[in-house]
């Protein structure tokens, strides 16, 4: 087995570098949980604000680009701490799943198959991206929800300077900045529309990004408090499945499908926008070379 390389020479060095982050996190908890949950009626549904949102915003504000409390190296250290802090939460959801195991098992086929539904991004977002004039960036941007593992995959497949990797990185940044709040909002709005059974919404919350799942699940359990245990059980099982299968779905289905649809749709959208088509130009170049 490969020997692990350590980020710090010792525990002491880690604490020395990270004590300010930890201290700030406790202050943010004091502020955020003192404010507590706020519900704002909005259209047919409501926007539910959770302490996690306030803590997230406080964190963003305190960084090197606004209040300058944290330096670059602390920003880098914080991303590892996200994983540490989310472990106990995921363990709690696992326990919920064990406690409601009957619901999870009876929903088994739906749980497995709804993983394919994560590809819904391609069908919704790719046409819009082409309509807005994106070219190969659109493949990286819309093939998946674009969290860390997807960004790494696209960068690896197409190269760090490729348009595909630029598109993936863009959506990664956008998702990090607005995803947590938007995903919770999306879940409550969909719940308010009343089209889907709450169980379906629970499963849909697990998309392979822990913090997005947390936000959506917190929101739907606030809308359906009587089903809180079952909903978080379904969300956590779906999240675990997405975590296990997500990268393979992207490699074998998401990216190839996105490329196929791009090659087919891009010339049509280019015509609509009165622009030269990137796909057709590449084809011509190939013919000339031959």
């Amino acid at each position: 087995m490969k020997k692990e390389t350590f980020q710090y020479p010792s525990l002491k060095a880690r604490i020395k570098n990270e004590y300010r982050i930890i201290f700030a996190a406790f202050v943010f908890i004091l502020i955020a949980d003192a404010i507590g949950q706020i519900e704002i009626p909005l259209g047919p549904g409501k926007l539910i604000l959770f302490p996690i949102f306030y803590a997230l915003i406080l964190g963003v504000l305190s960084g090197p680009e606004i209040l300058k409390f944290f330096k670059k190296k602390e920003v880098k250290a914080a991303s590892k701490l996200v994983i540490v802090a989310i472990c106990p939460f995921i363990a709690k959801l696992g326990i919920n799943a064990g406690a409601s195991i009957e619901v999870v098992l009876s929903a088994g086929p739906a749980l497995l198959l709804q993983e394919i539904g994560n590809l819904g991004t391609i069908f919704l977002a790719l046409p819009f991206a082409l309509l807005l004039g994106l070219k190969r960036e659109a493949i990286g941007a819309t093939h998946s929800i674009n969290r860390e593992s997807n960004l790494a995959l696209v960068t690896d497949l197409f190269g760090p300077d490729s348009p595909e990797a630029r598109g993936s990185l863009s959506i990664y940044v956008v998702g990090g900045m607005v995803g947590t709040i938007y995903f919770g909002f999306l879940a409550t709005m969909t719940a308010a529309a009343g089209i889907f059974h709450p169980y379906a919404l629970g499963m849909a919350s697990g998309v392979g990004a822990g913090i997005l799942m947390a936000s959506a699940t917190a929101s739907i359990t606030a809308v359906y408090p009587d089903m809180a245990a079952e909903l978080s059980a379904l969300a956590s099982t779906s999240e675990t499945l997405s975590g296990l299968t997500g990268i393979y779905v992207a490699i074998f289905v998401g990216i190839p499908l996105c490329r196929k649809l791009y090659t087919w749709m891009e010339p049509k959208f280019a015509k609509l926008r009165h622009e030269p088509s990137e796909v057709l130009m590449r084809k011509e170049e190939k013919v000339e070379e031959a």
Binding site: R14, F26, L30, G59, L81, A85, I90, A129
Partner: protein, 148 residues
Amino acid sequence: MRYIEWAVMFVVAGLGIGLANFVGFDVNFMDSLPGILILLAISLVAVVISKLVPLKLPIIAYCSILGLLVACPISPVREGVIEAVNKINFTAPLTMVGAFAGISISDQIKSFLKQGWKMILIGILVMTGTFLGSALIAQIILSLTHAI
């Protein structure tokens, strides 16, 4: 990370959960403690497994599976675990996650603003499509299998 680094950082996370559960939900720390210890123990075992098993799975996958195992009907400690962990409110562990996540992206604000409205709109559509796609298939299969 060394085991000792994981262990100390998990204790920090546990204190964060206890604080959020007290400030936000008036559960005093001693009432939260058993649940917190269970969650931290599972997390630590998950780290050990992820280091020992050559299969490259994310640590949180092990956390989730271990949690499910200790709380499933054949587990001898099921009742006690569920009761203790139920004292930890659902969103209490999340505040600290939000704090760290916020700090970890705090150097991306300029980059975010540079993306422009098109990428922000596409990002919103990517999330919407992923969520609704799953919900739609889940709804259809749940209906077909008469699970709802």
